[in-house]
């Protein structure tokens, strides 16, 4: 019995990965300890520790030599840019998804076998995976900003794997030695030739001659890779271009309307229309004409929308200018008022100082000092009241003046948007007309050839059926037409709603900003005035050794 128990235990024990080592667990205690160890020293260190460690403000964390087995519980470090988990016992990269601000990641001297789960770390620039057990380079596609990459002392068998690094346009330094494939001297030549943008290989500069040598050695292979890359590069650029254009047009609400794309996509979604279109012949001609008309109408709309967009931006700019100027003016005037207050305050404070000096030199009695202090206090209060009045007046003036302009702004914006919507309505109406014409023509052509078996040489079965049966044909045409009309309506709606909501947002935003600003300023003014009053009161009490009645009341309560 005990024998099986012992063997069981021993089997369980063999499940423990490193039986002799006490593993480390990443928890608050460890994080706090590491952050404090690497924090400021001496006096600054004392203050740092006193204040407590804020995990979400730590920018750099070093968790080296902590015998960590698994990465976890790091999601709290929200502002982290530099993380090292080197010299631990980690086997899998995981749970780093939340640290999107990460700039530098060091996982060297661990036992990692596969690169994975780094997709969210798009800001990563320096990645060190030195001395791990990595066999293959993969899953690094999202790291577009990668600058320095270290993969030395791993288990990469084939130097052609390193061609994976060609995709990183920012990559400049690669460290590679210590891999099994490095015994082959050709590996370095290959790397020098293939990785054209990389400047430093194993922390040594690649000279031009070495690069030439590498290229000439693997000329064929590199040329093939270059060609493939060129293609992907072109596609990428085309895609970026397209996206940029879509974004650009989206700002004037006319995205996808600048070419025949929308029309094509409309037809693609409409299966009945496709069947009818596959008839060919004259239909194709009419279809082309329809497309041309559509493109023309939409081009006019796009142009107008662009102009309108520029117009709107100009208007917004003018309004912003006015508001900014008015604010700057008001702030300047307020600062002048504050300076005057300071100038008046100084002599009062000096008088107070004098009095207190006299008192401490026992030249005057407590009563006399109190009297003078009370007088000075009254004049100080008056000054404060004047200050408050002037500052608040300025702010009120500013607010009222801007209100009118805001109303005007709202009216102008509405006008512009309405105009745009009118033009859009016309354009879409024209499109509907074209659609109607197309539908009619389609029907005419098809009905002419109705029942004509000769024309339908290699037609699809649906088309064949349709052409035999008049009713079916009419149904198909009607369905297609309806489909198209719905599509057009949807697009118009989209444009209208977006324009309107943009205008509403803009006007509301302006109003809200102004109100918030106003309230902030009032808050600031009042806070300042209160602070001044408190300071005076504190000073008064200190000098006359009077006790604060509120504090006394509080203390009494607790006694």
């Amino acid at each position: 019995m005990s024998q099986t128990q012992v063997t069981q235990k021993r089997n369980l024990n063999s499940l423990i990965i490193h039986p002799n080592i006490e593993p480390g667990v990443i928890d608050n205690a460890m994080l706090t300890r590491c952050i404090l160890e690497n924090g400021p020293t001496e006096e600054a260190g004392r203050l740092f520790a006193e204040e407590g460690v804020h995990l979400d403000e730590a920018v750099e964390v070093r968790l080296e030599f902590q015998k960590i087995l698994r990465i976890d519980h790091l999601w709290m470090l929200k502002s982290l840019t530099k993380l090292t988990l080197a010299h631990n016992l980690i086997e899998k990269i995981e749970h780093l998804e939340q640290l999107t601000g990460l700039n530098e990641l060091d996982l060297s001297f661990n036992k990692i076998e596969k690169i994975e789960n780094l997709d969210t770390l798009v800001n990563l620039e320096i990645l060190t995976l030195f001395h791990n057990k990595i066999r293959k380079l993969e899953n690094l596609e999202m790291l577009e900003k990668l600058l320095v990459f270290s993969i030395g002392d791993n288990k990469i068998e084939d130097y052609k794997e390193m061609a994976y690094l060609r995709r990183f346009r920012m990559l400049r330094s690669v460290s590679f030695k210590g891999n099994p494939c490095c015994d082959d001297p050709m590996s370095y030549q290959f790397l020098r030739g293939a990785l054209k943008r990389v400047t430093y290989l194993d922390y040594k500069i690649i000279t031009e001659e070495e690069r030439e040598g590498g290229i000439s050695m693997f000329r064929g292979l590199i040329r093939k890779m270059d060609e493939a890359d060129e293609k992907t590069e072109k596609e990428r650029l085309a895609r970026e271009d397209y996206n940029a254009r879509v974004k650009f047009y989206a700002m004037s609400f006319v995205e996808y309307l600048s070419g025949p794309e929308l029309l094509d996509s409309m037809f693609e979604k409409d299966s009945d229309g496709l069947i009818l279109l596959s008839f060919g012949g004259e239909l194709v001609g009419f279809f082309e004409q329809y497309k041309e008309n559509y493109v023309e109408t939409m081009a006019q709309l796009v142009e107008f929308a662009q102009e309108a967009y520029n117009d709107r931006q100009r208007e917004i700019g003018l309004f912003k200018d006015l508001v900014d100027n008015a604010l700057a003016d008001s702030v300047a005037k307020s600062k002048v008022v504050l300076d005057e207050f300071e100038a008046k305050r100084k002599p009062v404070m000096e008088q107070v100082n004098e009095i207190s000096v006299q008192y401490s030199a026992k030249q005057i009695s407590m009563d006399e000092m109190e009297q003078v202090l009370v007088e000075l206090g009254e004049s100080f209060n008056e000054m404060l009241y004047d200050l408050w009045k002037s500052l608040m007046t300025l702010e009120m003036h500013l607010f009222e003046q801007c209100e009118d302009s805001r109303v005007q702004f709202a009216v102008n914006m509405t006008e512009k948007v309405t105009k745009l919507l009118e033009v859009a309505r016309n354009a879409f109406g024209a499109w509907r007309e074209h659609e109607g014409v197309w539908s009619m023509r389609q029907f005419e052509v098809l009905s002419k050839h109705l029942g004509n078996k000769i024309m339908l040489g290699d037609a699809s079965p649906e088309l064949y059926n349709a052409m035999m049966d008049r009713d079916m044909l009419m149904n198909l045409v009607a369905a297609s037409s309806d489909n198209h009309m719905r599509f057009i309506d949807a697009r118009e709606d989209l444009l209208t709603t977006r324009a309107n909501s943009w205008r509403d947002d803009m006007v509301k935003g302006a109003n809200d900003n102004e109100v918030k600003r106003n309230r902030d300023r009032i808050l600031e003014i009042n806070y300042f005035i209160d602070n001044q009053r408190d300071e005076w009161a504190d000073m008064h009490m200190e000098l006359t050794n009077t006790v604060d009645p509120d504090a006394v009341a509080l203390l009494d309560e607790f006694q």
Binding site: R521, E524, I525, F528
Partner: protein
Amino acid sequence: MSPYTAIIRRSANPFELAHVLVSWLIGGGYDAYVVVGCAKRDVCMAIRYRTECPEIPDETVIEEVPPEPEEEPRYKLVPLPDLTSKYVVEMAIKEEERKQKELDKIKNERLKKIAELEKPPPDEIDGWRTHAWILVVPPFMGIEEPFFIEPSEGNGYPLNAPQYQHVESVYNNENYYVNIQKETEEGPGALSYDFTDLDCWEHLLAGEPYYRRQLVGIDTSDKKTAVETEKHLDMPASWVEKLDITADDYEQRYPGSHKVIHYKKVLLDKFAPYSQRDGIIKRIRIYQDYALNELLTTYEWYKQREDKMLTVKIDHTTRMVREIFGIGRKDHLLKHEYSLDAPVGSVEGNRVLEFNYYPRLDHLTKLVCTPLIFEEYYTDRADRLESRKIVYTPGTKVEPKRQVKDITETYSRNPDIPAKKDIWKKIFHIQDNTIDLLYQYAYNFVTNDTRNFIKPNLAETGGKILFYPEKTSGYIADPIAERPRPLDVYYSLCDNIAWEYKTCKHIRDRETDINTYLRTRYHELKEPVLFVALYDTERNEAAKKGWADQEHKKAEVTEREKEAEIDPLAPYLARMFGTGHGTGSQLSMKEATLIREQCINDFKAKQLARQHLVQERFDKFNSEYKNKRLWYLANQFILTPEKEAAYFATSAELSFKVHALEVRLTRHRDLSGPRFKALMDYLDKHPLLKEYNRAAKHKPIRR
């Protein structure tokens, strides 16, 4: 006399002067004429002491008015309701006008009195003095309105200038026009200067010069007659030599290199360049009275001074001097204004120095010194420092030097960091041992954050800065912001203590700088040095010769250095005695023999080594060359043209090298004998080996 003679003699009557000037103007393309008429006595006799000096610099500040915005702004702020009383404002305006009228009346009376005083004594033949001056009419050379030029001065005057009383006739090389217009009271200003108008001007020669012809009613197809209508008689061609003044002559135009013109209350001195020791070329002295007794202001202009001083203005009433410098000074100073009473060598006077901030490392723009305040202004510094103002307390009997009381540094806004971290002013109260920090104003805020430190006494804590919360206080303008962290405040304190130390040091350096500068200026003013520009061909001969001499001397020195005595024995002496030893005392026999042996052996070894080296190289290249040749001969016919060209290039190089080495070998062989002999001679004659040599001479030692 002809214009040419007038130029040579450098003096002429008004007619001759007018001819010279008109000739030049016409040559330059202007439509210029000599005017014969009557002028006032002052003009005819070149009396200038009743006219204003035309060359006083205009010191009105031009204010740049920003251009009006062109269109009505779409958005305008509603104006605030105007609560002032319009009636009160009107009454105030009326009162102002009344006061102004009285002042004006007083001023007019004064001006009238002055005019009375300044009136010239009566002139009997006024209105009859014949004079000649110049008229320039449009449209050539962009002239829009006709005007007069006075040839004795060179100044231009408008047509209604009071000194010209009648115009009788006008002429140039094309034609002579007589004025037949009725004389009016307004003088020549009201006349018509349209010479084609036959009611105003009578032509001597009929017709117009070709550029004023209006070819009206002419049949241009008939060439012969077309040319002959409107033809007028031409004046005969000019016989005068080319009028030319060389640059040299122009520079030395003043007789005695100095000319003085006496204007109303102003004395104008003009000097030829390089004639005065300090490089002055013009001086204007403005006096308070007509008798030129009390000096008010002096302006001076300089050229070609080494210290790049361009103008000086001395204001004798306020006792201020203003010096303006050109670009090129090492300290990039542009303007220096100081009081004549300021102590010359010290910083404590009233001074303003303006610099060219761009080439200076510290971007200093302006320094203002007064006895108790020192201000520096910077532009575009990387650390955004804009100005630094230091306030001193005056010196006391115990410490006569002024002490620093406050240092205020102002910074400009750095838009990249939030306002609560961006410093606006740092005030170091040195004598109170406190530091005040004021931060920038955030958007929409009218108060700024402040922080006040009482500096810890570093002597007590042994240099370490400890943080005491009671020694600091501050105000945060944003009521909803969190309190600052003690760690941040502590860092701020450490940084500012370090910064204060640096600033104090900087102030001391700056004072030393200025003192040095003032001393240099003093020297420069006392002993002005003039420089000759490189492109000034006449004066540069002397400079060029000086340079040639310098070059010679330099070459000589380098040659001498090369041939400087290399004592072959020196290294051996050094080896035996240490460097610098054994140069005085005589050597004993043993030492002398040793040294001699060493020297001779080394020399022989060196020669041998050299020979071997050259021989080796020669052999190597030779064999290479031979191999290549063989290879070529073997493969001659299967070589491509490029390879052949490559072979020829390399073979030519190799053969050149081989030849050179051969020459070296032979030379070496030839010279080694004489060299050895020279060494022996030297050793024999060496002073330190005298003893040995004496002995050697007596007892010939077999070698």
